[in-house]
């Protein structure tokens, strides 16, 4: 799994973040960090209840990180997010949030940001 790019197109990432800023920032603020979404994720339950597989943990460390850094991410940041967004989530949409936040949509958004910078799993290998 290697990225074809070595430098992130920060303005492009920032443009993507800006386009969805309203909803994403609202979701990130609304998240009560209650961890009630954990049990709804079958990956979390099958991986020995590792907190890193919690839906909220995945969102905070991908989308949350993108907005916290205001889009000024490096390739290494995106590679770390790739591990989370592509390998720790299969977008099965099983996750439940008591506040009704759409977690898979945000993971999908994180994937789109990574993919736009050429950072994605190489399924051909």
């Amino acid at each position: 799994m290697s990225a074809s790019k070595t430098v992130v197109d920060v303005p492009a990432v920032q443009a993507r973040l800006k386009k969805r800023a309203g909803r994403n920032k609202l979701a990130l603020t609304l998240c009560a960090h209650c961890s009630m979404c954990a049990d709804s994720c079958f990956l979390y339950r099958s991986k020995g209840k590792d907190p890193e597989y919690m839906p909220s943990h995945k969102v905070i460390n991908t989308v949350g990180r993108l907005y916290k850094k205001k889009g000024r991410v490096t390739i290494q940041d995106l590679e770390e997010m790739r591990e989370i967004a592509f390998k720790r989530c299969v977008l099965c949409m099983r996750c439940y949030c008591p506040l009704g936040l759409n977690i898979p949509e945000m993971i999908g958004f994180a994937r789109s940001v990574c993919r736009s910078q050429g950072v994605y799993p190489d399924y051909e290998k």
């Binding site: 309203g22 909803r23 609202l26 603020t29 609304l30 998240c31 009560a32 960090h33 209650c34 961890s35 009630m36 954990a38 049990d39 709804s40 209840k49 907190p51 890193e52 919690m54 909220s56 943990h57 905070i60 439940y96 008591p98 506040l99 009704g100 936040l101 759409n102």
Partner: protein, 235 residues
Amino acid sequence: MVLFNDPAVYEFVRGPLASLAFMVCGLGFVFQIIRFRLLTKNADWPSAGYPDTRPQLLLRQPHTFRLRLMYAFIGVKSTAIGRQPVMTLVSFVFHGCLFFAPLLLVGHNILLNESFGVSLFSLSEKTCDRMTVLFMACVLFFLMRRLFLARVRAISSFYDYLVLALAFMPFLTGFLAYHQIYNYRTIIILHMFSGELMIMALPYTKLMHAIYFFFMRFVLPGESSFKRGKRVWNT
């Protein structure tokens, strides 16, 4: 604590600061409602392709009693109270006390009557005192959960503890004031101040789930929404 003994501080916190707190909160509510409307649009169900195939409609037939019973059982088991009963119940009690204890407290209603000539009915002081103790026990539960459960600790930061303290302080100081523990004037000023801080923070922190909970459940469509939802997110 000389500052908190000053009658001028008391008058300020009781009067202008309280008005400011409610204004800031009110403006925040308006801002969040406008924000929600700007981020969403009216649902156009035929084009959105959401036929109403909710199982409870299909199963509302006499000969499918067993299926309905099974669905109800699975339905409860698959809900929050089925999967995490303790947390859900504590959360329910917490929010109930958070809302009703200050609203139906006789002391608050007397102040409302003095200020505006109106008031709500009041619960007995003993009942409100017990609700306060129950609330503080719930906060302790949340704190322990955040400190000692790995999955909650993994996503917790200083901000989460701060917001919890923000919700806790009005009740703690109110309890101390009611039981006249420590200097009453100091404690009551701290009580009003902490309550006003919480009210001001409500629409601007994660406490805004007080507003958005109702939008998510009653206005937007989703698996835990009531009805189909009148609005959807802008694409």
